[in-house]
């Protein structure tokens, strides 16, 4: 069988090389600005091979979208099964999502590009469900925290958006900067600062304010 593998490409299957090339090229250039010719050159195959495995450019794109969805679902499942205080579970959830994203930066970068960017003629993929699911999980944990007296009665919606919003922007910093100015440790500091602000046992967390009673 003729295998026209350029020496620099490891001997993986043509199909996998196409997926890898597509992830890379779609992240770098976007859907519309990435040609089938470029994808096949990067994968070291001819164009009919792409059509043989994926039926179309769009088919290859959807293959990658399905992969992203599965990655996210798997990660969320992994992070929903620890015990501890609500604060511990919130920290575990956020840092787990953050580290998972940092280990898959190209995939996450593509997901953000699609979330914020225009379709570019690509088939529609609704990434809102990722964000929505995060809001839901964090809200559940906050409800539990309030019920257990770990979190002050406060504007729950504001607290959810503060936590998820901070997380989101720190994650975005990893994607949009070559050298991120804040990372895992900064995320932990942010989550702690927020939760310290709504902690009923404030003296427990180094309250420096002089309380007026």
């Amino acid at each position: 069988m003729q295998i026209q593998t350029p020496p620099s490409i490891p001997p993986i299957e043509a199909r996998d090389r196409l997926v890898a090339a597509a992830l890379d090229q779609f992240t770098r250039n976007g859907y519309a600005a990435t040609s089938v010719r470029e994808l096949c050159e990067a994968a070291g195959v001819s164009k009919p091979v792409l059509y043989y495995y994926f039926k179309s450019k769009e088919g290859l794109y959807l293959e990658i979208m399905n992969g992203i969805g599965q990655l996210f679902d798997q990660r969320v499942a992994e992070l929903s099964s620890i015990n501890g205080s609500v604060r511990q579970r919130l920290l575990h959830f956020f840092t787990g999502m953050f580290d998972g994203a940092s280990d898959n930066l190209p995939v996450v970068k593509l997901a953000y590009m699609i979330y914020f960017g225009p379709p570019q003629g690509a088939p529609f993929v609704d990434f809102n469900r990722f964000f929505d699911q995060m809001l839901k999980i964090v809200d559940s944990l906050i409800v539990e925290g309030i019920e257990l007296g770990e979190i002050l009665q406060c504007d729950r919606k504001a607290l959810v958006w503060t936590l998820v919003g901070s997380f989101q922007t720190i994650q975005e910093e990893q994607i949009c900067r070559n050298e991120a100015r804040i990372g895992h440790d900064g995320l932990v500091a942010v989550i702690n600062l927020i939760l310290n602000g709504v902690d009923p046992n404030a003296s427990h967390v180094e309250c420096t304010r002089s309380c007026k009673i």
Copy 2:
């Protein structure tokens, strides 16, 4: 002069119609997936007219990018000239940026698309300066707040990222959802929740915690 203006387009100059069409089409479809033909059809002119005014597709794109930069700079200047407490100035700054963005959603949407998306063959435009400038302004205000005793000594970097991160995600919600689940009032609630958490005079803002001294 032959003006082939479709009846639905108000009689504004061809150049302005091209800019408006380009903003709309680049936001909807992205740079690469928007053809010169589509732009000219939307503007009601023939292709040479675009080349007459902007020299190229790229030239039209850069015209819009310059406009975005100027809008942002003007807005920041407007919001930097009020008096009041640090909290009042922070609220004014964030709500002013938010309302300014809400009044120019297509422009902000395009800016986000470019910030998160790939170049798509478009000339590079560095939108980091917008985000960087926000970080800087908020950090200055927090430094002042700590000096004035309005804000507790705390992890300043964490506080900056919490405030700007929450703002950013709430603004992103306006862009990515047809019906945003949080808006101006939610933003105010979030900023207040964060600042309440680092307020030295906690009882002043309805502290419900029982302090242990």
